[in-house]
């Protein structure tokens, strides 16, 4: 039995040694190379007007330039193909209101995957309908306006003026919307990058947890084997 006790002491001693070594290694590495700890692929896509715009890059901030992006449906059938530009951005014009998957092969086993569900898609029907209804209306009113502008001061009803104003506001808002979207996207870009980098962070707690799991697993293995050996010894003795 002293043999087992001896082994056990050895076991725990060597493990504590390994643990300190691991922590040292890790902290050292962190001090040396913290910014680019991971090299994972990040992909995202969002509705932009009636098209889908997406971004593909690596978690360290470099973007995937001139990469072919395949557009797939849920059954895996290819719907189309687009290419990213110099900033890793691609645009795709969806034709059907179904969930889409964007897949890009960046080489060396790096694959970008992003799935867009139906409710994330640009409002194709809605957008086109409002455009269709709103564009004819101002054109009608603008045709009417010159002829009635002279008489506007005289007798255009207030409700007519109000609807005219509303229509022009709507048209302007629609024109502004894409600019707004672009501005918001630009403003949140660093945030998105930071979140992506944060997700990639391997913190010390998790690493220690992993080392703990390893110790535990091998401890269990050690216990199982030791028990078996002990039983064998007992059988031989009896």
């Amino acid at each position: 039995m002293t043999y087992f006790a001896n082994l056990f002491v050895k076991f725990s001693l060597t493990f504590s040694l390994a643990l300190t070594l691991a922590i040292g290694l890790f902290v050292g590495a962190f001090a040396l190379s913290s910014p680019a700890l991971a090299h994972k692929v990040i992909a995202s896509a969002y509705a932009d007007g009636d098209a889908i715009e997406g971004e593909i890059g690596f978690s360290n901030g470099t973007m995937a330039k001139n990469v072919v992006v395949e557009v797939l449906d849920d059954s895996g059938a290819k719907l189309g193909e687009v290419t990213t530009d110099e900033e890793g951005i691609f645009r795709y014009q969806p034709t059907k209101a179904i969930a889409l998957t964007f897949r890009a092969d960046l080489g060396q086993g790096h694959v970008a995957l992003y799935r867009m569900t139906e409710d994330e898609l640009p409002q194709m029907d809605g957008a086109s309908v409002t455009q269709q209804t709103s564009t004819p209306a101002p054109s009608v009113s603008s045709q009417d306006a010159p002829s009635s502008s002279n008489t506007a001061a005289l007798g255009l009803s207030e409700s007519a003026i109000a609807s005219l104003v509303q229509q022009s506001i709507k048209a302007e808002m629609a024109a502004l919307q894409s600019d707004l979207r672009k501005a918001v996207r630009l403003e949140t870009k660093p945030l998105r990058k930071e979140i992506a980098a944060y997700k990639e962070k391997n913190d010390l707690q998790t690493i220690l947890g992993g080392v703990g799991y390893i110790i535990g697993l091998f401890g269990i293995g050690f216990y199982v084997v030791a028990r078996r050996e002990a039983n064998k010894v007992k059988k031989v003795a009896s």
């Binding site: 082994l7 050895k10 076991f11 060597t14 493990f15 390994a18 643990l19 070594l21 691991a22 290694l25 890790f26 590495a29 190379s33 910014p35 680019a36 700890l37 991971a38 090299h39 994972k40 692929v41 690596f58 360290n60 470099t62 897949r103 092969d105 080489g107 060396q108 086993g109 790096h110 694959v111 995957l113 391997n202 998790t206 690493i207 947890g209 992993g210 080392v211 799991y213 390893i214 110790i215 697993l217 091998f218 401890g219 293995g221 050690f222 199982v224 084997v225 030791a226 078996r228 050996e229």
Partner: protein, 215 residues
């Protein structure tokens, strides 16, 4: 070095899983009690070492230390490295659960090969220096074999073979050098400070037909 989910075709993933199961079974049978602490340490070493990334161009490289694991554990390196890979996949989404089999083959396979090739010579080396040189060679060879395996598994799926291997291999030349030096240092240290470990290894090699491992 770790291949991620969705990068490989199903056939490759399945093949990797089957081979890994076989390797695990064999490795667990060869995992003698005296080797378990060493297996745990080498597993933890691999786990931590491969989380340290050194940026290199688009991608980054990291140490693996599978050569040393194979040298000391032989077939038992398989379960040891598998545990490390499993935990990396669970905790850091590093690699991926579905490609675990392929990654295990890519990393533990070279470890076992190197172990089988170099172990007898390292154990029988007359001086610490000789053992260290052999250990260094083993460490470097394990990495180059791993890059070869990764290249092949990528090539089996999609990319053309030669550029895939070339890219991975070239990126890992510094890793080979560093791992070779580290393995050499480790073997040198074991030889001078704790030669009993080699005795344990020799015993297991000699009595492998009589002892029953745990499976």
């Amino acid at each position: 070095m770790h291949i991620i989910d969705a990068a490989l075709t199903n056939d490759v993933v399945m093949g990797g899983a089957v081979l890994t199961l076989a390797g695990l079974g064999l490795g667990l049978r060869k995992l003698d009690m005296d080797l378990i602490p060493a297996a745990g340490i080498l597993s933890a070493t691999f786990f931590v070492a491969s989380l340290i990334h050194v940026p290199l161009g688009h991608s980054s490289v990291h140490l693996i230390m599978n050569g040393l694991a194979g040298l000391i554990l032989g077939w038992a390196a398989f379960p040891a490295l598998f545990v490390g890979l499993l935990l990396q996949a669970i905790f850091f989404a590093f690699g991926g659960i579905t490609v675990l089999g392929v990654n295990a083959i890519n990393i533990a396979g070279p470890a076992v090969i190197v172990g089988l090739l170099f172990r007898p010579f390292v154990i029988g080396a007359s001086s610490a220096i000789k053992a260290a040189i052999l250990g260094g060679l083993a460490g470097a060879l394990a990495i180059s074999l791993t890059t070869l395996f990764v290249g092949i598994s990528l090539a089996l799926s999609e990319e053309s073979l030669i550029p895939a291997i070339k890219l991975v291999f070239l990126a890992h030349i510094p890793v080979m050098i560093i791992e070779g030096l580290l393995s050499a240092a480790a073997v040198y240290m074991i030889h001078t400070v704790k030669p009993e470990l080699f005795d344990v290894m020799r015993q297991i090699d000699d009595t492998k037909d009589e002892t029953e491992g745990w499976s």
